[in-house]
């Protein structure tokens, strides 16, 4: 067994333990919020998944720059693996945000009250487009190049999109500010622990995903060698 896979096993175990601990903290340890009640518990996982989404797309940006500079395949693998995980977590953030909005603002889609939800949805759409772009380019090297460029351009638009959505909403009355109430100490502790465990989970998934991609590359190579009838060792 390679040394790399031992790390993966270790991190997988750690992620499981941390997520279970996070669930305990969220449901049993953290106190009930005064105005919103139990619904507020969505907050811990909701914000953590949004954070992982942002972070994952940032990693895709860095991997894109790395790929354009070096042209090495591993940067491309890192880029799309991270984007995949990012899309999953952003989708979770959008769904949990929408569920939270229903009891709070009595609307599934409170885009006037909550600009951040719109931003996360736009992010999700951008990175879905990223994967569409990947499927429609056949040649691997060109695909990696295009994806790297799109990953860079896409991330550059994020702060501007955020500003524009934020200002758009400023003209409308804010019903109430979520952060305004402030978090008590146990709440803050739970929140920080959730952030940390989601980040560990992201790292674990990223390692698994890149390993899988590398294995798939190996299999492809073997299959090609088999087809060409050249069975020699390399």
């Amino acid at each position: 067994m390679k040394a790399g896979s031992r790390w993966v096993d270790l991190l997988s175990g750690l992620s499981v333990a941390m997520i279970i601990a996070a669930l305990y903290l969220v449901f049993l340890y953290a106190p009930r919020e005064a105005t919103m009640g139990d619904v507020q518990r969505i907050f811990y996982f909701h914000v953590s998944s949004a954070w992982v989404g942002f972070f994952a797309f940032f990693v895709t940006l860095l991997a894109g720059i790395g790929y354009l500079r070096t042209g090495e395949r591993r940067w491309d693998v890192l880029g799309f693996s991270s984007a995949e995980i990012g899309v999953t977590f952003t989708a979770m953030a959008v769904m949990s945000g929408s569920m939270w909005a229903k009891p709070t603002w009595n609307s599934w889609w409170p885009w006037r009250q909550e600009p951040r939800l719109v931003l996360v949805t736009i992010l999700l759409l951008i990175y879905l487009a990223y994967f569409m772009l990947r499927t429609f380019v056949e040649e691997a090297e060109q695909r990696a190049r295009f994806a790297a460029v799109y990953g860079i351009v896409a991330f550059a638009s994020v702060p501007l999109t955020f500003m524009s959505i934020r200002w758009w909403q400023r003209l409308h009355p804010v019903v109430f500010d979520r952060q305004g109430a402030g978090l008590t100490r146990p709440m803050l502790l739970t929140f920080l622990f959730c952030l940390l465990s989601f980040t560990v989970l992201y790292t674990t998934l990223l390692l698994h995903r890149t390993r899988l991609a590398n294995l798939a590359d190996e299999v492809n190579e073997l299959a090609q060698r088999l087809h060409s009838g050249w069975g020699g060792r390399t």
Binding site: M132, F146, Y150
Partner: protein
């Protein structure tokens, strides 16, 4: 040749080609006209004050017509292997980016210049104000900056034209939002100072994306 001369040479090439065929211009014009007519019909039934929906309609029309232009402009380059010819020309690839971008900008602006009076008449609003024209120019620069890069990518994929709007629209969202806001503010007769943040955002977007797209264009056309 000087950098600017090379850029202008590419723009001139596109303009001459278009003047010969008039393909792009006529289809964009008819398309934009159709959009305005359809919008004016569909809103006529329910909307009391047209000025409330007009900014949105205006920019959606521009974005759709602009997408049509971008697709066509790059598709013709790829079809006749003209892009290869351009790449062989003795100049930096980034020069090609600015040349194509400026060409796209000229075409889209020309269509918009034709559309504004028609739009003003159909929706019975005065859109020919200097501030609004400035907004149109700034918004179109941002649109063409990102659009040129992404359409070069899109025409090199299997999906071709289908892919461009999917790639382009989520990224130019800040341009559309701020342009709509400024247009609406102007139609409501707001003071310039109230729209300053939006104008800054628009200018910031233009500068950031012209730079980012200029730096990455090289990687899209190589290989």
């Amino acid at each position: 040749m000087h950098f600017l001369n090379k850029v202008l040479a590419i723009v001139w090439k596109d303009v001459v080609a278009e003047l010969r065929t008039k393909e792009l211009f006529s289809s964009m014009f008819v398309f934009a006209l159709l959009m305005i007519v359809i919008f004016s019909f569909s809103f006529d039934l329910r909307v009391e004050r047209v000025a409330e929906v007009a900014p949105g309609v205006l920019w959606v029309t521009f974005a759709f017509a602009g997408t049509l232009e971008l697709n066509r402009s790059l598709a013709t380059e790829v079809e006749g292997a003209r892009l290869d010819g351009l790449l062989l020309a003795p100049m930096e690839r980034s020069t090609i980016y600015f040349g194509k971008m400026l060409g796209n900008l000229v075409f889209i602006l020309a269509i918009e210049a034709l559309m504004l009076p028609i739009f003003s008449a159909v929706f019975d609003l005065n859109l020919l104000q200097p501030g609004l024209l400035l907004t149109v120019v700034l918004g179109t620069i941002g649109f063409a900056a990102v659009g040129t890069l992404l359409s070069t990518m899109a025409v090199n994929t299997r999906a071709r034209e289908v892919l461009l709007p999917v790639l382009l629209f989520p990224i130019i969202l800040p341009v559309v939002l701020s342009a709509v806001k400024i247009t609406a503010g102007m139609l409501d007769g707001q003071a310039w100072i109230d729209m300053a943040p939006w104008l800054r955002l628009l200018i910031g977007f233009d500068i950031i994306f012209a730079t980012v797209c200029y730096m990455t264009f090289d990687y899209v056309v190589q290989g």
